[in-house]
Amino acid sequence: AQTIHQWPVAEIKAVGSPLSLGCTIKGKSSPNLYWYWQATGGTLQQLFYSITVGQVESVVQLNLSASRPKDDQFILSTEKLLLSHSGFYLCAWSSNWGGAGEQYFGPGTRLTVL
């Protein structure tokens, strides 16, 4: 069975500080990986996706960047946090073949920027 782990569980950071969030998936070879952002009670906004190691596509510009250094790892980062970066960050995966395009989410990281 596939498992998806995100770290850290929660972060409180100062405006202007750097950030790095991580996501690891086990039990699935060559998954498609995604980053989402969610405001409290809000919809899910896709930020990035990656279909292979070293390749990341940006969906929206929010002064964030993403990288996929390994097949099972996806990193979200920024050098300078803004207040608007506060929210719930979710990593998700989908199969790279077959399936209906459904995505499965990790437990998320709650970020508070002060």
Binding site: G42, T43, Y49, A100, Q103, F105, G106, P107, G108
Partner: protein, 111 residues
């Protein structure tokens, strides 16, 4: 452009009553449709999926039928429970590795 429209905001019901959460979509594709459920402080979980016209799909007491003629995929349950209180998202696979989500509907079930 492509979009998903859901029942707006908050739906409040008493335990045991039926519920229907509306979802309509606009897309040029022939999409897969999904319902996700997100309980408080948890990640969204896949509840239902379908791409077959006029076929009912069911899971955990919830059901939905994709009607391509009306571009709808409404979520229903015949008798809601307290544990059904959550945020519900309708979404479709718009291709190019993208799921398009609706704004979400909060279902609040009271005793």
């Amino acid at each position: 452009g492509d979009s998903v429209t859901q029942t707006e905001g908050l739906v409040t019901l008493t335990k045991g009553l039926p519920v229907m959460l509306n979802c309509t979509y606009q897309t040029t594709y022939s999409p897969f449709l999904f319902w996700y459920v997100q309980h408080l402080n948890e990640a969204p979980k896949l509840l239902l999926k379908s791409s077959t016209d006029n076929k009912r799909t069911e899971h955990q007491g919830f059901y939905a039928t994709l009607h391509k003629s009306s571009s709808s995929f409404h979520l229903q349950k015949s008798s809601v429970q307290l544990s059904d209180s959550a945020l519900y998202f309708c979404a479709y696979d718009s291709g190019y590795n993208k799921l398009t989500f609706g704004k979400g509907t909060v279902l609040l079930v009271s005793p």
